[in-house]
Amino acid sequence: MAKQNPPLIETVDLCKSYFNDGMETPVLFDIDLTIREGEFISIMGPSGSGKSTLMHILGFLDTPTSGSYLFRGQKTRVLHDDELARIRATRVSFVFQAFNLLPRTTVLDNVILPLLYHPTIPASERTERGMKAIEQVGLTERATYFTNQLSGGQQQRTAIARSLVTEPDVIFADEPTGNLDSASGIQVMEVLQNLHSKQGRTIVLVTHEKTTAEYAERVIHILDGRIATDTRDFKRNHAKNVKHLK
């Protein structure tokens, strides 16, 4: 079913290197990857494999060194900082390992934080949208709590609510269970899975835990900066498609 949907993310020969004191450290090599709308994907790999870097690039937090990245068919390398910020505000969202919630701030205020930077959603709709997102992660009763009064699992669910509030095209989750005990981890993964299965949300999960990765329909292994395996082998077809387009 996901196969028929149009591609949301397409990368061709995407490379990334870091430069320190003139020394080039390559991190990603020739990544060809297509993610269609509605997919739930895990990107797996040991630490240092480049999986987080790939997610940062796909999520417009970082830019590739070479190769191309098309988001909804649009080339992204020509975008300015403000345009990238606009995409982050409207199209993509993140769930981080360390939750990254604002301290001394309520659940609701944390959840509606992205709406402050949203270019089109009016201020009057913030609370309503925020409460709707909080409801989806089952924290309605805790909406007025300060985030430091919550358990780790509840904090991560707050972060998920925050990632839902702008109705983005794709949610990137970077080791979302990394700081949680297994019971809370399962709870958080179930919330993510429900968002995919019931609402058809596109989710890209980055993890090094096999059990977490298995919640996804499709698992991509990254090793030493290259895609090692892809449970749904799109690679060849995709390469052909790109050649046709050119």
Binding site: L61, D82, A85, Y117
Partner: protein, 405 residues
Amino acid sequence: MLLRDTIQTAHRAIVAHRMRSLLTMLGIIIGVGSVVLMVSVGRSFERYILDQVESFSNNLIELYPTGYEKFGRTLDSVTYGDYEAITGLTTVKSVAPVIFITEKVQYGTEELSPNIFGTTSNFFANYGLKLGEGRLLSEADEKAARSVTVLGYEAAEDLFGQRSPLGERVQIGSRSYTVVGVMQSVGSALMQDLDTFVFVPFTTARSATGQKELSYMTMQAVEDDELALADVTLLLRQRHGIDNPENDYDKDDFRARSAEQATKIVGQVTLGLTVFIALIAGVSLLVGGIGIMNIMLVSVAERTREIGLRKAVGARGHDILLQFLIEAVTLTLVGGSIGIIGGMTLGMILAAAASKYIGYVPFVLSFPALLAAVLMALGTGLLFGIVPAKKAASLSPMEAIRWDK
């Protein structure tokens, strides 16, 4: 991001870090507070002096033989003829000649060495001196060169204590004088000397001392001080045969001055002092500004993750810049306001305290100084807020998020 949201965000950050915000503001509070305090103390003191000078010197003009102040002796250049000629001018009125008597004043065992003025009743009007009891010197006293005297408030108290001196006789030099009047106290620290003076009729003093020339002369300008001064000066030069079109005072053998000139000098001196002290206080404002920059930089480093998060959820560099700038400006404006209120309060307390000792000191608020203080606070916030704000805005969202890893 809406400006309202940015302001609210900045406000929350300030409230969330109360202690840090307070410490940051402290430098500004002290800086602005001391500028306001120094300026208001300076202005109040200036007003006080001017009030004092003006209270006794309504259009007052004094004419001295030159060198009087330099050599401490009576010079002979200003004569009774000069006095009579000046009385004829239409631009001055209430001319009073003065001859000093350098003698002791005795009553019983009490003895004083006051300034003794041989003068006319015009003198009292010129300095705004008021009669306490008895009467002033009269024209009849003057014509008959009577041996009568009017005592300053303090002189009377020193000689007679609580008793009434009226009708008593005091010894001045070899002559005996009847006390006919006692002056009110001038009630001002600046002019306290006037209370110790002793007055006798001009003609009496002339015959007692044998002095023909005048020690000095006082008068009031009818309307314009400058005009009266020019008239008097021209007349005296003419009478003394001094050719001085270039108005070089060193060539004259006399000097005419108006109290207004004195007030202007007082004004200039206190203004200079005020500016000088305010500048020193301004240095503390600068230090306060650097304090703000310092703490804002720490705040940016401390909140790297928050900044990264905001950028990750769509904040532009410009949004972050504005947030931190508003934070800095809010801190300085709030600190500045507290400083203004504090400085003013302290100024009022000082003025009230000083009033107890040296007579009424008005509290003067200088609105240009207040405006300048507010603008300085705002400027400090902008100037020293921009560096940390730019630093925050330029943080890469990814760097910021990975900060703890």
